[in-house]
């Protein structure tokens, strides 16, 4: 019975769909990369450590509430990473996939204050292009079987990735300024807590230990442009 007023409002409420794009900032400590003495990873900078690319989609399901999906992505790429047999291309991404429930109210006709609680499904991915010698032999053997010259391929690359998933949660307070009734600028600040474990990585269905990353207990700040589709 207590849910009846909510159900009534859901039916009557005008559905509103909005998309957003922007950037976020945070300060993780990626110990496994920055203090790695064996492999020289790319030099850390604000772009590959502190900046997050952010996009999202929200649906207003109640008078003062939205649900949606938001993704914060940290990305890093490096070439000529010296390994035993290869000078590899290295790509690393940390993706914080957030499923927010956001409530809000209009303080002024064009100013909104919003409150977000969100579970996080995070994923880290390390991808490398290496040049294993035995792969070249296998391809040469295979291609030569069709005829033509012997050993046509001298260098082959292979791309493999190691992946780790974790869960977390986030809480954010936001301020939104509407430029017009469809378009707005949204600024948010808050924190996220990620239950990342270095021992829970996997590559080709095998469990391995990945880099030590300190991504729990992180303050986060974001700024984005919102566009109301309907």
């Amino acid at each position: 019975m207590a849910m009846l007023p909510i159900a009534g409002n859901v039916i009557e409420a005008q559905p509103k769909l909005s998309i957003d794009m922007g950037i976020g900032f945070y300060e993780p400590t990626l110990v496994g990369f920055d203090q790695n003495e064996t492999v020289q990873f790319p030099t850390k900078s604000i772009f590959n450590r502190n900046m997050l690319l952010n996009w999202g989609i929200y649906y207003e399901f109640f008078n003062n509430a939205r649900i949606g999906y938001n993704s914060f992505l940290s990305y890093e790429i490096g070439k000529n990473i010296l390994l035993i047999n290869s000078e590899a291309v290295f790509r690393r991404s940390l993706s914080y996939r957030i499923f927010p429930i956001e409530t809000f109210f209009r303080w002024r006709p064009n100013i909104e204050l919003n409150f977000t609680l969100a579970p996080i499904w995070g994923r880290a991915r390390i991808e490398m292009d290496t040049t294993p010698g035995d792969k070249t032999d296998d391809w040469n053997y295979f291609i030569t079987s069709f005829g033509g010259s012997a050993n046509p391929v001298s260098d082959m690359g292979a791309t493999d990735a190691m992946v780790s998933d974790w869960i977390g949660y986030s809480s954010l307070l936001g301020f939104r300024y509407y430029v017009n009734t469809r378009l707005g600028v949204d600024v948010k600040a808050g924190f996220m807590n990620n239950q990342y474990k270095a021992s829970e990585w996997r590559i080709q269905r095998q469990k391995v230990t990945g880099p030590e990353l300190k991504i729990d207990d992180l303050p986060i700040f974001s700024i984005k442009i919102i566009y109301g589709l309907r």
Binding site: N63, T103, F105, P109, E112, T181, R182
Partner: protein, 117 residues
């Protein structure tokens, strides 16, 4: 004879166009009516460019007040709908504020293990 017939046809076409022009009023277009009654966000995305053109045409044909009212009502509609928090949303907002406050107060006030001595 040919000249008379073609003159009549041309004259007829011109008059018909004038008549159409007299009947066309951008301020009465169904899209504009929809925006007025249900709000600008109720207009489908595919019709937005058309709506902008209609708004411009309407303003040019003396409907500035109507368009001004359209925008004002849209702001008012959104504001009225969202100016106070409904039902459970205020509880949710309080939970967020408390967790936010607790987290940042903890960052400022909490001591790290071993740092008290």
């Amino acid at each position: 004879m040919k000249q008379i017939i073609s003159s009549i046809l041309i004259l007829g076409t011109i008059l018909a166009k004038d008549e159409n022009r007299k009947e066309y009023n951008p301020c009465n277009h169904p899209l504009l009516r929809l925006a007025e009654s249900k709000g600008l966000k109720a207009v489908p995305l595919k019709d937005i460019i058309k709506l902008r053109k209609l708004i411009k045409d309407c303003e040019e044909s003396g409907g500035e007040d109507q368009i001004k009212r359209l925008y004002e009502n849209d702001w008012k509609r959104d504001y009225k709908k969202a100016k106070s928090m409904a039902s459970w949303t205020s509880t949710h907002a309080m939970v967020v504020v408390v967790s936010f406050g607790y987290y940042f107060a903890g960052r400022v006030l909490a001591t790290k293990p071993g740092s008290s001595s």
